[in-house]
């Protein structure tokens, strides 16, 4: 069975029909890139996958658990689904170490020492072992985003959702974050990335999902989708971004 099951999902914001019957299955260890024009529903789909947004029809399960927006269910889901945002969302009043240790200690009830060890290991993984005691505002955007990745990883998630996590970064800092993602992909982490980094989607991703007007317009193995787009919409999109 797939790790993530999305079946005929419809989502409305009031009268606005944003997701129009999404079907998507994601296997453990897959790296999926969701591409598409602004407003096509990429973020909304991602946010439906961990209960940040309600959907009105259809069903989503992650790791066998039904996704709803009820607080209890969202909290249970948070143990298997990590999410990283475009705007980092680090907690400004906590050090990098405290940012990473917070959820493992109060949600997973790990001892402080255990949480600290995990935090240090995760920071090491993202190349920021020396920033444990720094406050977020002293870090560059790229460093903050890598801390956010470490913070998500410390919860030992089964799947990591990334919503344009390099879009707010200066171009020279994007590479460091992508390198971390690539490393995670190699280690077998399941990644769902909404991204504008087409080269990354093609070279690192297993599968590409092209969204258009609230639908999965086209999908397939990453290299094929870029080399041989089937629909005019994807052709146009690929031409406009590559």
């Amino acid at each position: 069975m797939s790790l993530v099951n999305i079946h005929e999902v419809h989502k409305y914001y009031g009268d606005l029909h944003v997701l129009k019957g999404i079907n998507l299955n994601i296997k453990a260890g897959e790296v999926i890139s969701i591409i598409g024009r602004s407003g096509s529903g990429k973020s909304t789909l991602l946010r439906c996958m961990n209960g940040l947004e309600k959907y009105q029809k259809g069903g989503i399960t992650v790791d066998g658990k039904e996704v709803t927006t009820e607080e209890i269910q969202v909290r249970i889901l948070a143990r298997s689904v990590g999410m990283i945002f475009q705007s980092f969302n680090l907690f400004p009043h906590l050090t990098v170490g405290e940012n990473i240790m917070l959820a493992p200690t109060i949600v997973l009830k790990k001892s402080k020492q255990e949480a600290q060890e995990t935090a240090k290991a995760m920071l090491d993984k993202v190349g920021l072992a020396d920033k444990f005691d720094s406050f977020p505002e002293k870090l560059s955007g790229g460093q903050q985003q890598r801390v956010a990745i470490a913070r998500a990883l410390a919860m030992n998630p089964k799947v990591l959702l990334c919503d344009e996590i390099t879009s707010a970064l200066d171009p020279e800092l994007v590479g460091d974050v992508l390198k971390v993602l690539e490393q995670l992909a190699k280690e077998g982490m399941t990644l769902v990335l909404v991204t504008h980094e087409m080269n990354f989607a093609r070279d690192v991703g297993d599968r590409v999902v092209f969204m258009h007007q609230g639908k999965v317009w086209e999908e397939g193995p990453a290299k094929e989708v870029f080399a041989n787009p089937q629909t005019d919409e994807l052709k146009n999109f690929v031409n406009s971004v590559l």
Binding site: R75, A78, P92, H93, L102, V107, E137, K138, A152
Partner: protein
């Protein structure tokens, strides 16, 4: 001729008044802020009815004179069976007053929390309460800390009105002394300076606490 030496025989009266003002203000500040945080949370995140109740309370206090609130508590409440000493009535009036103003200030701080902070807490598995108290509250208070500081000082200075129900505070002392030695200029001048001194001291204390609470900014 000015004669400040004429106040010297009454220095113990001033000291006693000063202590009373400090005691009441300190108590009112602590209790008022604890209630302010509680009410602000209820107002911002509570059920609709709770939010409305808090709002009525806040608007009632903010749109009536402090002295009327004080008289109501001290002279009005006994007629329905709540008899309070002047000291108790004065302290309660100040707590009620500061709580209302600080509710509105702290609520504004909470409201300015970026949505992303709540979402980050959520996707890490934190409950609403955990996110509120571990993530949201400190940066929220930081944003409105200067306004909160000023409000606490305003309420401390407002305690002068408590002399009207014969709480023996600093202003009461000044009234008492000048009625004895007829040195009203000297009496009130010294008293004004004592209030000024308290206000400066209070601001310093708030700054010190702020430096500790928000040390993540100072570390630049």
């Amino acid at each position: 001729m000015l004669d400040f030496a004429a106040l010297l025989p009454y220095s113990h009266v001033f000291i006693h008044g000063l202590i009373t003002t400090v005691e009441i203000s300190l108590l009112a500040t602590v209790l008022g802020l604890v209630l302010g945080v509680t009410f602000a949370v209820a107002r911002q995140y509570g059920a609709t009815w709770l939010s409305r109740v808090v709002n009525v309370y806040v608007e009632l206090i903010r749109n009536t004179p402090f002295i009327v609130q004080l008289f109501f508590i001290f002279f009005g409440l006994p007629s329905i069976g709540f008899k309070l000493s002047a000291w108790e009535a004065g302290t309660i009036a100040m707590v009620v007053n500061l709580a209302a103003y600080s509710t509105e200030i702290i609520r504004a701080g909470l409201a300015s929390t970026p949505k992303g902070q709540w979402e980050a807490g959520k996707v890490l598995g934190l409950s609403f309460k955990q996110t509120l108290f571990r993530v949201v509250i400190i940066p929220a208070i930081e944003k409105i800390y200067p306004a909160l500081t000023s409000q606490c000082i305003i309420v401390m200075l407002g305690s002068a009105v408590l002399s009207q129900i014969s709480v023996q505070d600093l202003t009461y002392a000044a009234n008492f002394v000048q009625s004895r030695n007829f040195r009203s200029f000297e009496s009130y001048l010294v008293t004004a300076f004592l209030y000024l001194f308290l206000a400066i001291l209070m601001r310093k204390a708030f700054n010190l606490i702020g430096k500790r609470l928000f040390s993540y900014r100072a570390e630049r």
